[in-house]
């Protein structure tokens, strides 16, 4: 699938009156062989796209739930190379766009050009690199430009308006709006300024805006989803899969649908 398919999946969803729902899973939490089943399960629940996190030794943007899942995956020997290869093995069965979330160093170690090529071959349509801000994005962008993979930019609450314009100007796929200052993980509440921030972001972004970080309940999927084109849910999904609680996953996805949502 291509970066345009990723954008289209979100806009189609919004056009239907739903909100986009993108679950984050820790690739290989439970072993490399679980990736396929998890993806196939999620796509039949009606998710819009799937974000696959790659475990890393020093995940500075992640909270405890995802960090611990990453440690479990690392203990199973999961690496970026293995995940990309595994995805290629069942790409014909995948019907939703896949987005890889990895810290930068494993990509550098892989080799940027080779990584871009292999991602393309595995049908990956987007890439999120939390420690690669706009200023440094050229490092990957040059290799990705030749591909059908979107480098998805993150915008934070601390990004001033001028900067938001700069970051979103050439955005592809979607824009990842970080809803809190801090790391990933469950939160009770969000700042009062979030609505205005997301509204301003949607006004300037040429691609859909998905909100993420700290969204963990069906209520939050709806309330935060209402302010954007959809949501990304990480820690709550990772924790649910870890305890094999598929019902919670389904309920979170369902909360993004029109019949429940309106």
């Amino acid at each position: 699938m291509t970066k345009q398919d990723l954008t289209n999946a979100i806009t189609d969803c919004v056009a239907r009156g739903d909100k986009a729902f993108v679950p984050y899973i820790m690739a290989g939490d439970g072993g490399l062989e679980t990736i396929k089943n998890t993806i196939l399960f999620l796509q039949q629940t009606g998710v819009t796209a799937i974000e696959l996190g790659i475990p890393f030794s020093d995940p500075v943007a992640d909270g405890p739930v995802i960090e611990e899942a990453g440690e479990r995956a690392l203990a199973k020997g999961i690496t970026l190379r293995k995940v990309v290869k595994e995805l290629a093995s069942f790409k014909n069965e995948v019907t939703v766009p896949l987005v890889i979330m990895t810290y930068l160093n494993p990509i550098l170690s892989y080799g940027i050009d080779q990584f871009a090529k292999d991602c393309q071959d595995s049908g990956i349509s987007g890439l999120i690199v939390p420690d690669l801000p706009h200023e440094e994005s050229g490092l990957l962008q040059n290799s990705l430009e030749k591909s059908e993979i979107a480098l998805i930019p993150l915008v934070s609450l601390t990004s001033p308006p001028e900067r938001i314009k700069k970051i979103t100007a050439a955005a592809e796929g979607f824009v990842y709006a970080v809803t809190v200052n801090g790391i990933t993980g469950v939160r009770d509440g969000f700042g009062d300024d979030l609505a205005a921030h997301l509204e301003q972001l949607k006004a300037v972004s040429p691609v859909p805006v998905l909100a993420g970080f700290g969204i963990s309940t069906p209520e939050q999927v709806q309330s935060i989803g209402a302010l954007a084109d959809g949501v990304i849910v990480g820690s709550a999904i990772v924790a649910a899969f870890h305890r094999n609680d598929l019902m919670t996953v389904e309920e979170l996805v369902k909360a993004s649908k029109k019949e429940i949502y309106s």
């Binding site: 930068l104 892989y110 420690d131 801000p133 930019p153 601390t158 900067r163 790391i183």
Partner: protein, 404 residues
């Protein structure tokens, strides 16, 4: 008033050759941009630089002596050895040069809360000290293993009013403490300044830390000319992230006749894999916001460092050192735990100075190097800190007694 705060530009904003940069989450970018602007503004303001100089002189006790180590010179049997006595600074190491500067900068930016990481505890103590001095709230992240190794420094920080948070993740050392400090900063960025302690991290930190540590080299340069009428032939400093070394080396970079030697921690030996020598055995990569030499495996995962010295126990070396290695201006070498213990004992016995285990790496290599040099030549060791904090570790390592 000492006017040592001499400031230089990096070649491109935040780059040292291909090293450096700003590889951090977007949430921190605005803070880094603001920090750079505030720093540029501050160092151009004599009120700020005078204030820094005032505290360095009257609070820290600068300038520090450049001491001719006569008996160590005899022991080495070659070049005249001088010690730049950063161990005599208030709080016992060079770290306070940087924390005074950054705390004043934080206050100028209107930030009243400080977060910092610490390895050996020297940077943590230096940060807690300036926070007490300037009435700033202070949180220090420290690895569990380092807390064990440096128990007294933890208590010292607490006496000074800081909150010390133990980091149990990873190897429980400096790398993990930096991860947690970064996470804390991301969550509290609007009212908190991160006082990074080494010449590491995203731009502008490597530049800021270097500039505040340059006072070491600037003083040394003047002092050696006063004593010897010329510049030294060699300068030796230990390297963890590289703050004392870059501060010492930087004013001599353009003096091609001055040999510069950085000593990494070889732990149990480079060949054992249990070491902290990122230049000797690392690959280029990104950690904690900068592109530099990093100890990592074939999948780009960061490896744990190993050193008897908590302050050198870090799996990377700062971006400017990475560049100085690449262009061949500084010679990087390494000394094992055993070598450092020898260096420490030797300096204690012949000069009456117990150096920090970090600095003892430099002492050990310097004695070897001096032995290969002529008697008319001059070598300066950056004695970055004192060894009081390490006495327990050294006693344990020596099996409770002295091995002569």
């Amino acid at each position: 008033m000492v006017k040592e705060l001499n400031v230089t530009q990096t070649m491109r904003a935040g780059r040292y050759g291909r090293f450096g940069g700003q590889f951090v989450p977007e949430t921190l970018m605005t803070a880094l941009i603001e920090l750079e602007a505030a720093y540029d503004d501050a160092i151009a303001d004599p009120i700020f630089t005078d204030e820094v100089s005032y505290y360095l002189k009257d609070f820290v006790g600068r300038e520090t002596p450049l001491y001719f180590a006569e008996r160590l010179t005899k022991e080495a049997g070659g070049a005249k050895i001088y010690l730049k006595r950063e161990d005599l600074n208030h709080t016992g190491a060079h770290k306070i040069n940087n924390t005074v500067g950054q705390a004043l900068l934080a206050m100028r930016m209107g930030k009243k809360k400080i977060v910092a990481e610490t390895g050996a505890g020297q940077h943590g103590v230096a940060t807690a000290t300036v926070c007490a001095l300037f009435n700033l709230e202070c949180v220090i992240y420290m690895g569990k293993e380092d807390i064990r190794r440096q128990e007294l420094n933890v208590f010292r920080m607490e006496l000074l009013g800081a909150k010390v948070v133990s980091v149990n993740k990873g190897s429980g050392t400096l790398k993990d403490a930096v991860n947690e400090a970064l996470r804390y900063w991301v969550a509290n960025v609007e009212d908190t300044h991160y006082i990074l302690g080494s010449a590491l991290g995203p731009h502008p930190f490597p530049r800021i830390v270097r500039d505040f540590q340059r006072v070491i080299g600037v003083e040394t340069r003047r002092q050696i000319v006063e004593k010897e009428g010329r510049l030294p032939d060699a300068i030796v400093a230990c390297i963890g992230g590289g703050s004392n070394a870059i501060g010492m080396f930087h004013p001599f970079i353009d003096d091609e006749d001055v040999g510069l030697y950085g000593v990494e921690a070889a732990g149990s030996g480079i060949e054992t894999g249990l070491h902290a020598a990122a230049i000797a055995d690392g690959k280029e990569g990104v950690l904690h916001g900068a592109y530099m030499y990093v100890l990592q495996d074939n999948d780009g995962f960061i490896q744990e460092a190993h050193s008897i010295s908590a302050g050198l126990d870090y799996p990377a070396v700062g971006p400017e050192h990475s560049h100085l290695h690449d262009i061949g201006r500084v010679t990087y070498t390494s000394v094992t735990d055993a070598g450092a213990l020898q260096g420490l004992q030797l300096l204690a016995k012949v000069e009456g100075i117990i150096p920090a285990l970090e600095s003892a790496h430099a002492v050990h290599y310097a004695v070897e190097l001096a032995g290969t040099m002529g008697e008319e030549e001059i070598l300066v060791i950056c004695l970055s800190g004192r060894g009081d904090k390490d006495v327990q570790t050294v006693r344990d390592a020596l099996g409770g007694g002295l091995n002569d």
